[in-house]
Each structure stands twice: as C-alpha cells, then as structure tokens.
C-alpha cells in the first residue's frame, strides 16, 4: 500500500469519527431544545 493511500485512509477515518461526534452533539442539542420547549 502506498504511503499516500495509507495517510489518506487514516485521515479520512479520523475525519469521519470527528464528524460523527459533531453530528451527535448537534442532534442531541436539537433534541434537547425540542424537549425543553414543550
């Protein structure tokens, strides 16, 4: 496996994980806001 491919795969994996955490925080915030509005 070439170096560029290895680097790209690890970077993409980390970005996906960070993105998933950010998405989860945002969705939780939205859910909480709806919950406390009612």
């Amino acid at each position: 496996m070439s170096l560029a491919l290895a680097v790209s795969l690890v970077v993409v994996a980390v970005v996906v994980i960070v993105g998933a955490v950010g998405y989860w925080i945002d969705k939780s915030a939205e859910r909480d806001e709806r919950k406390w509005e009612h």
């Binding site: 170096l3 290895a6 680097v7 690890v10 970077v11 980390v14 970005v15 960070v18 955490v21 950010g22 925080i25 945002d26 915030a29 909480d32 806001e33 406390w36």
Partner: protein, 411 residues
Amino acid sequence: MDLAHLHLILNHFPTIGFVVGLGIFVLGLIGKSNDLKRTGLAVFLGIALLSIPIYISGYAAQQRICQAPADQPCSDATLSATVQSGGAGYTSAPVVAFSGGGCKAAPEGVASIKAGAVRDLKLTYMGFGCTSAPQVAISGGGGSGAAANVSLAPERVLVSKSMIETHESAALGSLAFMELTGAFAWLGLWQFRRNARLSRANLMMVLLLSLLTFGLMARTSNLGGDIRHPEIRDAQETAAAQTPSEQQFARSLGALMAGGKQWAWPVCETLHFIGLCLLFGIAAVVDLRVLGWMKGVSFPTLHRLLPWGILGFGVNLVTGMLFFVADPGQYLPKSGYWGGNLYGGAFEWKMVLILLAGLNMLYFTVFDTPWHLKAGDDAPMVSKLIAASALVMVFGVMFCGRMLPFLDMSF
C-alpha cells in the same frame, strides 16, 4: 524566568485546582445548585487549559536538570572514581572503559597522567541505571599497571532520569484524562447555555472523569515531587521508577511518531490543518457576527456551531501534543542557546495565545451578553472588543505555529 521556572510554579495548580473544582462541583451536585455545578465545570475547563503548558514546560525542566553541572547529572546514581594504582610508563592518557554494575548505559571517563603515571580519573558521564559499582579497565597510553575503582553512592542520588521518565509518562496519561474532563465540562456549560439545564448524563461523565483524573494527577504530582525529594520516596514509588513499563507510555508514543514518521507525521499534519480550519472557521463566523457582520443572524444560532470549533481544537490538541512528544527538543530552546539568537519564542507565544483564546471561547459559550444578541441587534462594545481580541489571538496562534521553523529553528 524561563519554561523550567514556569513548570515549577504552575505544576501545583492542577492538583490543588482540581481539589477546589471537584469540591465545588460535588457540593453543587449535593446541593442541587446549578451555579456551583457550572463554577465547578468552569474550573475544570480552566485547569485543563492550564495543564497544556504545564506538561510542555516539564520538558524544559528536564532539559535544564540534565544540563546541570556534573555533580547533578540525570543518572540513577552518583558515581565517584578513585585511582588505586597509577602504574608506570604512560606517555599519553590511557583509554578508560567501564563494564558491569547493571548499568543500562555505561559511565564514561577520562584519565589524566603525570610523570608517566595515571594521577586522576574523571567521570564525564555518570551512566544510567547502574545498580552496583561498575568495573574499570584502563588500557593503552603506552604504560601499564594502572588501576582504579568506582564507588556508587545512592545516598547522593540527586536526579534520576528514570524517575523523570516515570513522572513524564504519568503526566501524559493525566493530561489526556484532564483534557477529556475539560471537553465534557465545556460541553456541559454549552448545553446549559442553550437549555438552562445541565444534562444528567454529562454531569455523571464529568464526575467520573474528574475523579479518575484527580487520582492520576495526584500520582503524577507525587512522582514529580520524588524527582527532587528522595526523602519522600517510598518503596512503591521507587519500584515504579524501576519498572520500564511505567516509563513506556510517552516514549512509545514518541517512537511511533518518530519511527513511523513516514505515515504518522503527515497524517497528524493533515489533521492539524483540518482542525485548524474548523476552529478558525467557527471562530471567524462567531466573532465577525459580534463585530457587526451578518447582523441578520442571532447569536444563539451561531452558538450551536461552537462544538465544531471545540472539536477542531481537540483534533489540534491531540495532533499538536503528538508532534511535541515525538520531538520536544525541536520546540524548546536549543541546548547551549539559552537566551541566544536561535530561539525566537514563537512556541511560547503560541501557548500563551492558546490559553487566552480558550478563555475567550468561554465568554462566548456561557456569558449572557452575547447570548442575548437577537437578529438585527448590535453587540455592546465589550463583546466587540472580546470578539476582536479572539480573532487576533487565533491569527496569532496560526502565525506563531507557521513561524516555528523560521523563528525557533524547529524542524
């Protein structure tokens, strides 16, 4: 005053500050006071930020100790050499070699001659990890018959490198948990700002992490105190310092980055830039709104983006620490050039600006004034000044980071 001094001044804050923070936080939980809980969370966040320069300055302290005069070397024991027999016929200084003694690194020394005999043997390096007196062999120089012995004086141990490494590894573990506690504390403060409620799950997570961090931090502090205070060492701590696995954490991370440089370094560099874009992007949008751009957007709308900026900071903190652990020497003043021209201080400025920018972020996360900015509202002057300073600080962090190779001669 330099980074080594800073380490000695600041290193008390995480332990003492954490006790204070934990006390306030637990009181808040028992008394069901949101104000106390939020104060506790803010203290955790502040200590988490402060822990970054404390960890980094620890390397400078180590560097200083190891550059200390020869009677205070970074070795496990203080050795002294005595010439027992000078021999005869020496025309030049003979070669001195040390062996045995359980040394992980053999000591080194030079002999001096006078009137054909070895008169003196001076140790130039105390070796590392010697558990008993090593043997000395004197050869060459045209003569014969010279003999010397080495004595080991554990009672004179001043600084032990293995103690420093044990402290360093413990510190890296504590730092990781400290930052995780800080991240959840920030999230709690952010959630409270949005809903005027603290999430129970988040509070429990912060409590668990803070207790764990406090335990790790107390151990790190104790191991740090042992470095300079042999009188407080107990058998358990001495054993920890003699167990290689206790010293491995920081070293193996450094080895992964340095040894696996081919992939690990570019991965971290790429992620560092992605984190930077996230952090700067969010900071710019939020600060520009407060300064008067995009007035049609209310602050609470932008406030929801803040976790993305913090995630960017988290990515940069992890990758930045990996760079530092892999090769701390390149970020610190070069040996022999303390106060010299080879160090521009960009790294130190970067650390200071990160701390200030972190406190700045706290203002936009929890304070009432920016939160009440509705669509079309103009922010008060104080908020504008804080937003402008935030932009300057983030620019400053980027500038200092970029200038590391040029001002500090890093890399």
